[in-house]
């Protein structure tokens, strides 16, 4: 498996996981278990107004619900976090229940900081700056992809600066994640695919990361197996509870894997094209996958072989290098089968901005962990140009 004799690592996955169809009804019990009784529900307007999901959570909380903040947009921002925290403070919230996808959960992580520390969110941008436990936080994900319910990271956009800010701290790992597949049944196919591929990207980059280690490998590789099997089913039949449930598990596995082993070049670029051109994060990762695999293949072909095997690619008789290339082909085939865009030009990234994207990606924290050290803008630009053209 390619571990060296000086392997040393720290693995942390403290979130309590509650899984099962209908498990969202346990949210009140879980809150009581945390010793809290005044939760701010953080969610988005669609879930609050167009589905019964948020009402169900509020009913399950009963008198433990301090209020509902439902103005989190798809691409949340620093100003949203500040506003939600002010609302929570005004309602006397002592805890948070986030109901939604990655944007909602990341917003809630920011709110958790502000309810404990005060001030403005921008004051806490960076890595591992907090020194104490933050406001207790229960996540109820309604998408299966970001894994944010178990990670130490929140990505929140600074809309004025057109860049994504990274907040990374062990103190913002949520306390409880309730994985209820019933809540993801209504997710439209395009989002099911994009978020599912985000989870795939987490598993892949954790396994190839410069900080890879055996526990994250196990989680990442099993996430890849589950996604390969269940994502096409969830797309074909969104009401398939087994597929929906296993995709939630896969997302959580991928989240725990990358929260420890970290991610790499794929995410460094995806963060930038997402911030500059509003490309969905999971979709950006998906488009970049085959090209980043090729870029890293001369350094981590043995790891690509493991991923290829988990992804069901026939690699018997192939060298590691050939297995990596076969994986890149299989990823493109998979994306075609899912019916998603396979190039950056299809999702509106202008060719004229590729150089600026490459330059910005050099400053993204994820790049430090890429399997192959990346220090030159030209290296990233080559990957971006290939992904822009597509048809790998």
């Amino acid at each position: 498996m390619g571990y060296s004799s000086d392997l040393s690592f720290l693995f942390l996955a403290p979130t309590r996981i509650v899984f099962g169809a209908g498990s969202a009804r346990d949210v009140g019990v879980e809150l009581a278990g945390l010793g809290r009784d005044h939760a701010l529900v953080v969610t988005d307007r669609y879930l609050a107004e167009k589905t019964g999901i948020v009402n169900g959570i509020v009913r399950a909380l009963g008198t433990r619900c301090a209020g509902v903040y439902s103005d989190v947009p798809a691409d949340s921002g620093v100003h949203v976090v500040n506003e939600a925290a002010a609302y929570g403070r005004s309602r006397g919230a002592d805890s948070i229940v986030s109901v939604g996808g990655g944007s909602v959960i990341d917003t809630a992580k920011g709110v958790a900081i502000l309810l404990t520390e005060g001030g403005a969110l921008q004051d806490y941008q960076g890595f591992q700056l907090l020194t104490r436990d933050q406001t207790p936080h229960i996540c109820v994900p309604t998408t299966a992809g970001t894994g944010s319910e178990v990670t130490y990271v929140a990505v929140i956009k600074d809309h004025e600066a057109r860049r994504k800010l990274l907040f990374a701290d062990y103190h913002i790992i949520p306390d409880v994640a309730i994985l209820d597949p019933v809540l993801t049944v209504g997710l439209p196919p395009s989002l099911t695919a994009a978020t599912g591929l985000d989870a795939l990207s987490h598993g892949m980059e954790a396994v190839t990361s410069a900080q890879r280690e055996p526990i994250s490998d196990a989680l990442g590789l099993h996430a890849i197996r589950l996604i390969r099997e269940h994502l096409p089913v969830a797309l074909r039949d969104g009401a398939d509870i087994v597929a929906r449930g296993q995709m939630l598990v896969a997302a959580t596995l991928g989240g725990a894997a990358f929260s420890n082993a970290q991610v790499g070049l794929m995410h460094a670029i995806a963060h930038v094209v997402g911030a500059r051109h509003a490309v969905h994060h999971g979709l950006a990762n998906a488009i970049l996958m085959p090209y980043v695999v090729r870029f890293n293949n001369d350094v981590v072909a043995d790891r690509h072989r493991l991923i290829a095997e988990a992804f069901g690619v026939e690699v018997r008789g192939l060298s590691d290098e050939a297995s990596g290339l076969a994986l890149a082909h299989a990823l493109v085939d998979f994306q075609h089968r899912l019916g998603i865009p396979t190039s950056l030009r299809e999702v509106g990234v202008p060719e004229s901005d590729l150089a600026a994207c490459a330059e910005a990606a050099l400053s993204d924290g994820s790049i430090v962990y890429n399997a192959k050290p990346v220090t030159e803008q030209a290296e990233i630009l080559a990957v971006l140009k290939a992904a822009w053209q597509g048809a790998s």
Partner: protein, 139 residues
């Protein structure tokens, strides 16, 4: 002769090592972001009290290196704080300083993206420190 970790003599030798490093001169040629301060948290008997090092770095040159107290160190645009055991790991090249910051083993005050861009400079600074014959007083 081995010099005590973070002593004035060690700091003076460290400055010489940085300026004598072609690797650092090349990697940090574009560094114009100012002073980098390092703080080592107290751990008796080796480090009786918190201690700081002030490195005035500019375009591949260390213009000044001196011992400072924590309050002064915190005024630098970039300040990296770590426990004594962590700095030992860095000096022995067992801990990459940038990964250490991302893992919380070292605390960074300052703009992380700027530091991330300087992976090679950081490695060159570590290599310069690692080249010194360092005496760890707890050993």
């Amino acid at each position: 002769m081995a010099l005590a970790f973070f002593s004035d003599e060690w700091i003076a030798r460290y400055k010489e090592a940085i300026n004598g490093s072609p690797e650092y001169v090349s990697a940090a040629a574009d560094w114009t972001h100012g002073v980098v301060a390092l703080i080592c948290k107290a751990q008796a008997p080796a480090v009786p009290q918190d201690v700081g090092i002030w490195l005035d770095l500019d375009r591949g040159v260390c213009r000044e290196a001196k011992s400072v107290n924590v309050e002064e160190a915190m005024k630098a645009p970039f300040c990296i704080t770590g426990e004594y055991a962590r700095w030992k790991q860095v000096l022995r090249k067992e801990l990459d300083p940038i990964k250490g910051m991302l893992q919380g083993k070292l605390k960074l005050k300052g703009d992380l993206p700027t530091i991330v861009r300087e992976v090679r400079s950081a490695q060159a600074l570590v290599n310069s420190a690692a080249s010194l014959d360092t005496l760890f007083l707890d050993e």
